[in-house]
Amino acid sequence: MVSQAPDALAVPAGGVRYVGLSTRAIAFAVDAALIDVVAVIVALGAALILSVLHIPGGVRTALLALGAFVYVAWCIAYFVGFWSATGQTPGCRVMQIRVVGSTGDPLRPPRAFVRCIGLVLAAIPLFAGYLPILFDAQRRGLQDYLAHSTVVEASQ
């Protein structure tokens, strides 16, 4: 899969290149926008329905917690679904990149889930988990180390 020289950027089989930080950040921003647009539309619908119903304070709090849980589930389902299906989220498709496993195939759902958790973990220490992308020969971040994945170019 990888041909590597000392301090050289590795090249995966097929001649495509590993993708760097800014391209991945743009793809992630597109995905975040899509996720939020859907979430806002659903939240507005739910808020409109709830506004005409008389709901006690305790139930309202429970509904808020449920909404937060649904939002997190939606985010995880979005990434895990796309990464394990085609290896490309809509943002990745726009930027023509693909998340692949060590064999070059799309990740399996458990590894896609691990990578999703890795995304969050990498962001917790002031995004320090993403810094290895700048120095690793395969441009891998913490999430890639955890899920044994890489991000490569994918011409459409």
């Binding site: 760097g20 391209t23 120095f135």
Partner: protein, 181 residues
């Protein structure tokens, strides 16, 4: 030399004159009828000839030959290039007739119906969509190209900051553009 007798300006009204008039009228009638018949016959013949010409398709080929001939094209070009034509066109626009026509056209509801019909047609919609998609693809391509460059630049900057040697990249220099083909 003819010597005109102006005394006929006031016609004489004797019995002889009346007789002469009647005789002249009787003589002229068959001539008039003959002429009228000849006219009708010629008209009928002309129509029949024209009908035959159109039925045979000779007129079509004649028209096609005339319009497709280089002489016609040359004549048309000459007319178009002549200063008189240009002057006439200029005069036409200066009269304000064209402005009036445009104003009337814009006020006509039929025009806007036509515009709506054209805008709603699937062919026009497909063309607009195709063009929009092409524009979006162009922008996306630009963003991709620039982001690939930015990847390399950020990486180089990070390596400089950490005193690491610049990375050797396959297929070009440190900030070589990426071939997506």
């Amino acid at each position: 030399m003819i010597a005109w007798n102006y005394t006929f300006a006031v016609p004489p009204s004797g019995p002889l004159t009346r007789l002469a008039r009647r005789a002249a009228a009787s003589a002229a009638r068959p001539v008039g009828e003959a002429m009228s018949g000849a006219f009708h016959t010629s008209l009928m013949l002309e129509r029949r000839a024209l009908g035959r010409l159109l039925e045979n398709g000779e007129m079509d080929s004649l028209l096609a030959d005339s319009l497709g001939s280089p002489e016609f094209e040359l004549a048309l070009r000459r007319v178009g290039d002549s200063p008189t034509t240009r002057r006439l066109i200029k005069a036409f626009f200066e009269t304000g007739i064209f402005d009036e026509v445009i104003t009337q056209l814009l006020e006509s509801p039929a025009l806007w119906r036509l515009v709506d019909e054209v805008a709603a047609s699937p062919a026009v919609r497909a063309a607009v969509m195709h063009q929009s998609r092409g524009f979006a693809d162009l922008i996306a391509e630009q963003v991709r190209s620039r982001s690939r460059n930015a990847d390399d630049r950020i990486e180089d900057a990070a390596r400089r900051l950490t005193f690491r040697p610049q990375r050797v990249r396959p297929g070009g220099g440190p900030v070589a553009n990426v071939d997506l083909s």
